[in-house]
């Protein structure tokens, strides 16, 4: 039997911004974020609310598992460029 993996959601980092900056996911479900850093500089996906921090080198990608999360909003930011790189996960 083939087990289905968690849903995959792509996030891009470009010009020190997250695209999309609002990530909607189903509540109470584990989700796999595929974060692609299109900038030449490194960025760190960070969220205390999600209990995740992950450094992503320039022009590379990383996988971040989140959830299952209760319904609500969970902000995240890029630690290396926190003024611009801001976003949130919305579990609904």
């Amino acid at each position: 039997m083939v087990m289905a993996g968690p849903p995959i959601i792509e996030i891009e980092i470009k010009d020190h911004l997250f695209y999309p900056d609002e990530v909607r996911i189903p509540a109470d479900t584990k989700v796999k974020l595929l974060v692609k850093n299109l900038d030449p500089t490194a960025e760190e996906f960070e969220s205390y609310e999600l209990n995740r921090e992950k450094v992503i080198a320039g022009n590379s990608e990383a996988i971040i598992f989140i959830g299952p999360l209760s319904a609500g909003e969970y902000p995240f930011f890029g630690e290396f460029f926190p003024k611009t790189a801001q976003g949130k996960v919305i579990a609904e």
């Binding site: 995740r52 992950k54 450094v55 080198a57 996988i63 971040i64 630690e79 290396f80």
Partner: protein, 227 residues
């Protein structure tokens, strides 16, 4: 998974081992590695008027492997001297949140400064989150050898339950168990940020000895600067 037989080997060896020589209170390791991470670390464990300090510098090689070298110094009575050297490799085995438990492992090689005394140690690192609570456990299997020490296997364990109150302050309870150690007590920790990619992580705790061979009170301090 390869970790299952590893756990079984450690658990089976725990009851039958001879007395360990050292206090098994140090720190609780977490099974995560960040790429492009460098750190300078200082930690101290003090009990009965003596203390052991470690000063380390570490660097991740990629997103799975982190290596760190330490100098160990001890104060016993009025003497403060270099005690030994340690090389440590931490390996992240699974992504955080990928499985029900996050897995990692660590391998350490320690050499006494002057004596012919060696120790090779490995630990399985586990971590699990329940809402704002996080539990972490380290299961150690160690082998000592040399002219100045009895060749023997030892085991130890460290367990931490932490409440994620805020980035600056998280209370925790830790338990350390070894052949000569049973210690339990409150620990606090937190992060102070200094800018992009730079932060100071601190930990401080007071543990109470639960057995006759464990000192009544053990102080542990840690400061780790990531850059």
């Amino acid at each position: 998974m390869i970790v299952i037989p590893y756990v079984l080997v450690v658990m089976l060896l725990i009851p039958g081992l001879t007395l360990a020589d050292d206090l098994a209170v140090d720190k609780v390791y977490h099974p995560y590695v960040q790429p492009m991470e460098r750190e300078v670390e200082w930690r101290m464990v003090a009990a009965d008027g003596d203390h052991l300090q470690r000063l380390g510098i570490g660097q991740s090689l990629n997103d799975r492997i982190f290596v760190e070298g330490y100098l160990l110094a001890a104060e016993e009575g009025d003497t403060f001297r270099l005690e030994g050297y340690e090389l440590e490799t931490r390996i992240q085995l699974s992504e955080q949140g990928e499985y029900a438990v996050d897995w990692g492992m660590i391998v350490e090689l320690e050499k006494a400064h002057q004596e012919d005394e060696w120790e090779l140690a490995t630990a399985l690192l586990m971590e699990k989150q329940w809402g704002r609570w996080v539990g972490a456990a380290n299961l150690w299997l160690e082998y000592e050898w040399g002219d100045e020490v009895k060749d023997e296997f030892e085991t130890a364990m460290a367990v931490q339950t932490r409440y994620r109150l805020s980035p600056a302050f998280e209370p925790a309870i830790e338990f350390y168990g070894g052949e000569n150690t049973r210690a339990l007590g409150p620990v606090a920790m937190g992060d102070v940020r200094f800018g992009a990619g730079k932060k100071l992580h601190w930990e401080s705790g007071v543990l109470v000895g639960l057995s006759k061979k464990t000192p009544d009170t053990i102080l542990r301090l840690l400061a780790e600067y990531e850059f």
